[in-house]
Subunit: 499 residues, 2 copies
């Protein structure tokens, strides 16, 4: 089934309708917006098997994965519902007046976050549910008070259409204005471009390739009125294996990393694409066990033909670089490409060669990892200091050995948005402490996250109210603090009301 | 006295030195960084009269203003010292592990803000102290843990040099690394460009013209690795006079606004450049009293020749537009331009003419205000809905009359970063509730503020730590919470430690 691309007139109408919806939606209280988000979760569940089967058919992802992703999607809708209903997210700050202060009186000023305006969200190829139509971008924007216009990903347009239908049902049941959520198709670039360039667009959320995200970022910055783009783009998620621990734990480490590499056919933004280790027996044993696991793993169909073709191309480019040694490659069931299969592959390279060839540091989207062989920890530190921005970085080693390398933790803090010890980067827990973001090129702005409650901050801005009578203040800033939200009052965090 | 422009080699050396300083400075605890900020305040005070006289000589600002601005500068250094010493600013979030959760265990994740890296700060022409060398950008970046490289404003280079000397003394007294603060001169564009384009730069702070700020924003976005620019640029700070109240309070309103217009020769980013009112006797009386006050006010020397020349040019362009009527202009003491004098001026225009001519909505930097005459409140609402982004917007009227126009407050919330009732936009209190920011073109990113404690957020990014042993976590995230900072632990705000 294919859908008609939106026309430019339809894009314009959608953006204008989103603007009109914003004028009322932005003033709905947290309770009302929360009811909407919970209804979205309910309606997605009510789609039942049809959604699961449609998503499986469009993405080649297995049933358990789609069911898990659906749980994550309804989970984040309900998480944001709870979060905005509680209300402290608006970061209320109150400084009361001091009319007698000299040399000048101090006015009463109060501040809180308000929504930015209509947000354009791009569905992601690799997560048909959790990063798409009702994904984290949509849920956090709706939670903030922003209407959303989704550009469906063409690779799972029918899944997107189903979820959009669920959201529209939820709108009807909870009395939302018509333009609060809109859904457009666009197989080429035109629809996305027109949305990002439209004067009524206030922000953009995107998960996908570096080329796609960077193009949207540039387009948004070159508008007469630039708007913020949060694009999550490209990350190789370095994993560092500390030598003394590796000499002991090579087998367990190999097993853990092999599973992470092939999970979802390597199609996660947090897939471990680079592994750094020091030469020695431990590394040799690690590669032996990793190779055994990878050679036994089955190739699997990738999300869509374009991704599979790109994987084959990037893999062959990488393997043909000077100094790159193929360590292991899973056997294909048939000729590569025929069935859009991604063959799990591991290669290795010496650190000096890696440092001289920047293309080796770039993401190969799929089940591929490159092991960078360092002659010692000094060389490993040197090469890590040159790696570009990442979503995650992982250290594997015993606590005592890691404690000897806090300098490395220091380096990694500057490189990545999330540091992991003795775990794998895949698996992004949705919770307040999560940071799914990181320095460029992993995202376009390292100060924000795409996952977790703080994702809402991408779509909100502070407004201060000076010398307002209590009756004219927004509820969150009135003296009474009826909802008992956390506020900073004259420098002190409190849930108490004033006077 | 004039200073030599920095060479490109000096820019490169400064940025590299800042990077080296960052490697240690970012790990200094809040107490140590606070001592440095307090020492800066002390050393600025220790400059005594020399600083005041130098700044007066370079800027033509009167002694009381310079002394006031010095107080604000030392004040925000000490405010940020207190803020980071207390420590809750890092926004700690902790979600503890649930190893038995099904279908997958939940890992322990903890998050806090860390500094971005070296920040390039541009001294502002209109605030030789509070928005320059030790201004809010510098103080908030140093507080966050970022080294600062200041490009001195050439119009007050000697003042800047004195303050830089004070900061360097403070560095020596508190054991700071050499590159934590550096000071460069540059009369043209080359030095600023080289700083913003340097690979070691992580962020930029700027207060000044739209052309200057937008050029830096574009330059930073076009780097191979884009960096965030917070540029505070251009605002006309609309003031709306509600008709029923104006019919009663015209005299008082005229007096209040006349003072705000001519304050600092109109050279504030929050100067009231546009006044919106409904035609009628009240408006007539208001203009009569405003004109009386303005005609009695004395022209005064502007900050520097370039600003004065630009004011004369923009003023004459504006006054020559079709439909613009000159209402009053203060008498010059001598031929305009001879003494870089800014003559306070008020003009008026009908709303339909204003809406047809976008140049009338643009800032005339100096003591000029344009009154936009609306035939009724409907027309006033229409014209306000078309005004572009602003730092502030002000409503003047009785509480009962304002309560009838909450739709207007709603419109203004979408337009400005700070709303004021029955006050003037000039005067920016430095406190947690302050928002000195707003939608484009008033700033380049409406999600941040240049003034108040939240200004620190421009220069920090979150990092999550997953599965870290307590001993390897940053102090703010350890179980004990020795400093008793506010943290969100498993969704609850608390100062308690864990376990």
């Amino acid at each position: 089934m294919s859908f008609k691309d939106a026309t430019l007139a339809e894009v314009d109408a959608a953006m204008n309708e989103a603007h009109v919806a914003f004028l009322s939606y932005k003033n709905f209280d947290g309770k009302k917006r929360a009811a909407f988000l919970r209804a979205i979760a309910d309606e997605i569940e009510a789609l039942g098997d049809e959604l699961v089967k449609t998503a499986m058919g469009e993405t080649a992802l297995p049933e358990a994965r789609i069911i898990g992703e659906r749980g994550r999607t309804t989970g984040h809708c309900r998480m944001f519902a709870d979060y905005i209903e509680e209300g402290s997210w608006v970061e209320a700050r109150i400084d009361t007046a001091m009319p007698d202060r000299t040399p000048a009186p101090k006015p009463d000023i109060r501040k809180k976050l308000v929504p930015l305006g209509p947000v354009v969200v791009f569905g992601a190829a690799n997560f048909p549910l959790a990063y798409s139509t009702a994904g984290g971008d949509t849920a956090s924007a709706l939670a903030a008070g922003c209407p959303v216009i989704v550009k469906a990903h063409p690779a799972h347009a029918k899944t997107s259409e189903l979820v959009a239908g669920a959201i529209k049902k939820a709108m009807g049941k909870t009395g939302m204005p018509a333009g609060v959520f809109q859904h457009l198709h666009g197989a080429g670039f035109e629809v996305g471009q027109a949305l990002v360039k439209h004067p009524r667009a206030s922000a953009v959320g995107f998960t996908g390739s570096y080329l796609g995200g960077k193009a949207l970022f540039d387009m948004a910055n070159q508008r007469p009125t630039p708007i913020p783009v949060f694009a999550e783009m490209s990350s190789t998620n370095p994993v560092i294996l500390l030598p003394d621990s590796l000499a002991r734990d090579y087998e367990q480490t190999a097993g853990m990393l092999a599973s992470s590499m092939v999970l979802g056919v390597g199609q996660f933004c947090t897939n471990p694409g680079l592994i750094f280790a020091v030469e020695g027996d431990g590394l040799g044993q690690f590669i032996k066990h990793l190779s055994a696991a990878i050679s036994k793993s089955l190739p699997a169909e990738m999300l869509h033909e374009g991704i599979a073709r790109n994987y084959v191309k990037r893999l062959s480019e990488t393997l043909s670089q000077k100094g790159v040694k193929l360590e292991v490659q899973a056997q294909a069931e048939s000729k590569v490409g025929d069935k859009d299969q991604g063959r799990p592959t591991v290669a290795s390279v010496q650190a000096p060669v890696f440092m001289e060839n920047p293309s080796l540091a770039e993401e190969v989207f799929g089940p591929f990892s490159l092991i960078v062989r360092c002659k010692d920890m000094n060389e490993l530190n040197t090469v890590m200091a040159r790696v570009h921005g990442q979503l995650t970085s992982t250290l594997i080693g015993g606590e005592k050995e890691i404690a000897k390398h806090t300098n490395l933790i220091n380096i990694l803090m500057g490189k990545a948005g999330r540091l992991i010890i003795n775990g794998v980067p895949t698996g992004v827990e949705v919770c307040p402490s999560q940071n799914h973001g990181g320095p460029f090129p992993s995202t376009t702005d390292s100060r924000f996250t795409a996952v977790g409650t703080d994702a809402i901050k991408r779509f909100a801005r502070p407004v201060a109210f000076q010398n307002f009578p209590d009756s004219l203040l927004p509820d969150e800033l009135k003296n009474a603090n009826d909802k008992g939200i956390w506020r900073v009052v004259n420098g002190e965090m409190t849930r108490k009301g004033l006077g």
